[in-house]
Amino acid sequence: MKRLGTCAVLAALMTTVAATAASAETIRIGATMRMISENGQKYGQMMQDEFDAINAAGGINGAEVELILLNDECKSDKGVANANRFVYQDNVHLVIGSTCSSVSLPIVDVTAQAEVPQIIPHSTNHEITQKGSEWVFRVPISARYYKGVMAKYVGENIGTNIAYVYASDAAAQADTEGLRDEMRQQFGVEPAYWGQTQEKEIDFRSHLLKIKTLDVDAVFIGALQEPMARFLVQSYEVGIPADVKRLANSSASNAPVPKLAGDAIKGVFFSAAYSDSDDRQIAQDFNQLMKERYDVDKVDHDFSQAWDLIRIVEIALNNAELELTDESLAADRAAIRDAIANVSDYQGLASGPISFCAESTPECRDGNRTPVLIEYLSGGEDFEVGILDRVTMPVDFGLE
């Protein structure tokens, strides 16, 4: 029985081997992403379609690109298995992945050990590029930039005298303390008011009335969607003037908030990497394309980042000198790494230029540092948003 089991393993392994004989003159790219949602499948499909289009137009310097697209379901073990398969079995030249930070984090170690370049489409966790791998590149904006962008904008454009109220919810509290700490760090100011509501409390007027008596530049509201809407409405009810800016944590970007809050949402803004209300021609064209090709109504930054990533990969591959033989695999991988590191001032869907460099530091590897601030222009069922500003963060922002 035991030997029978062993034989079964060996037989299965041999079959796998036979099925994956690598062919030369092909640039092999392995992509692992979360493709469990409808959108996930669509941006996976977009990646496939774009590489097909590159091949149809003659490939990269005559070489065909072969994309191996796998789903990791946002599970680290699956992602690690995919990455291992890419680097050791499929012998890819480049790994794309992943969507979830929890998957990208361990994959960075896999690609570093195997010495294969990895380019990240969606993950924002700041640690990904702080592991010191010279093989990893990130297209989306690192969380360390997002963390400081609101404080930077508020401090520079609105004022530093801010009142904070937040609901007793872990995420809301963390967001609120985050902004307070950033205001301290960047501008050396303390909160003008600091209030926490009790759990299940739905009347926030006592806090808001006190804030009304203070002469503040802005009110920050940290809460989940539903209480957030109440907060905003009540802030007008108690008579806090409209020229006091309302600030909100990330839950404000969720669709129910503008619907519930109505026009009280006006002027509230949040940060992202891309907005489909971007009026640049390139963005308008992209929205149009996604609508036509994949029937996507609201194009979010998962699409734009995947798109930018494909273009950056295309540029890098075109610039890299590749031999594409079995023996040159390691050299080709290094060449692709260096070619990506040389991508500088790429202007695409991202709000600012994307630049990489050779060192294995976060400064070099977090290529995109320009979040866009998206502001509500009106609330209700047909709420509208517009771009408030683009803020380019200092390259070393958020690093100790």
Binding site: M1, G5, T6, E73, Y88
Partner: protein, 348 residues
Amino acid sequence: MDVVLQAPRNGIARLAAIHPVLPWIVAFVVLLPLPYLTTNNYQIYLINHIGVMIILATGLNIVKGYCGQVTVGHVAVYAIGAYTAAVLSVYFAMPFWITLPSAMIVSMLFGVLVGFPSFRLEGAYLALATLGFAQAVEVFIRVTDYLGSASGLGGIKAPVLFGFSFDTYQTYYYLMLPFVLFAIYFAFALLKSSTGRAFMAVREDPVSAAATGVNVRRYKLLAFVISAAYAGMAGALLAHMRPGYIHPNNFTIIEMVVVLLMVVLGGIGNIWGAIIGAILVTIIADLTRDLYHYQLLAFGLVIVGTVLFMPKGIGGLIDRYFVSRSFVAARDKTAERVRTQLDGDGEG
């Protein structure tokens, strides 16, 4: 059929007759060159994963297959083992040789906790109670910053022995192999002893088991604790494997279903069954990686199909082959004796 099934069985029996541990040493030697028979690291990575799954599935087989206790909490205990090892390694810089036993001990404590409901609950009700536990553990990890919450816990160090670091898949295989073989051997030795028979008696009929002197509660709890030790060992081995990163998503109900599939497909209450199941399911899941949309559906269908048409799984089929042979042999023997008796009577 005879040659394929009977020959290895006889061979093992002959080795075991010399010394019960001998077949395991032979197995160890036979399995030593396995990484060199693979063509790339990914396959070794898969083999290592199979190793973790074998330990996990064998543990589940003890409590579910042998003792008949339907638990869904196994994956939670697996998570507890992995996180215990991870915390000790990451925050306290403990070596693998301390984190692994600690993970097993902590898991066993939780095994007691999962086992207690089995005193009063049976079948689907016990499954529901343990499901609650599994969910609670997963959610707890997901919201606890100390455990990395939803970002996962990374930086778990590779095991080191006398300055030698098991930090590649290849070296890790050689760390894992003795653990896997010991885990299988332990299950074998235990389940062939009076303890294993007591587990089965509890599964077959608790009242009858008690009436024959088996302390039902004690053995139920023992089965839970031993299976928890297996889960803890599997968890620690998973945590320390490169890249040394664990995440609550690795310990969800879906993972539980996959382990259950291994045990059910391989054969409930059959040690080899769970091992064959772990190997088959891991390999098939990998070969069908591209069909991810249908994988879970297929897993579910295979479980239902196996339960309906092959209730004892693959291992059961093989067992069945031997058992029916011995039944036929026994019947013939009795018939033969009756005939000779009759003949004798006739002559006398």
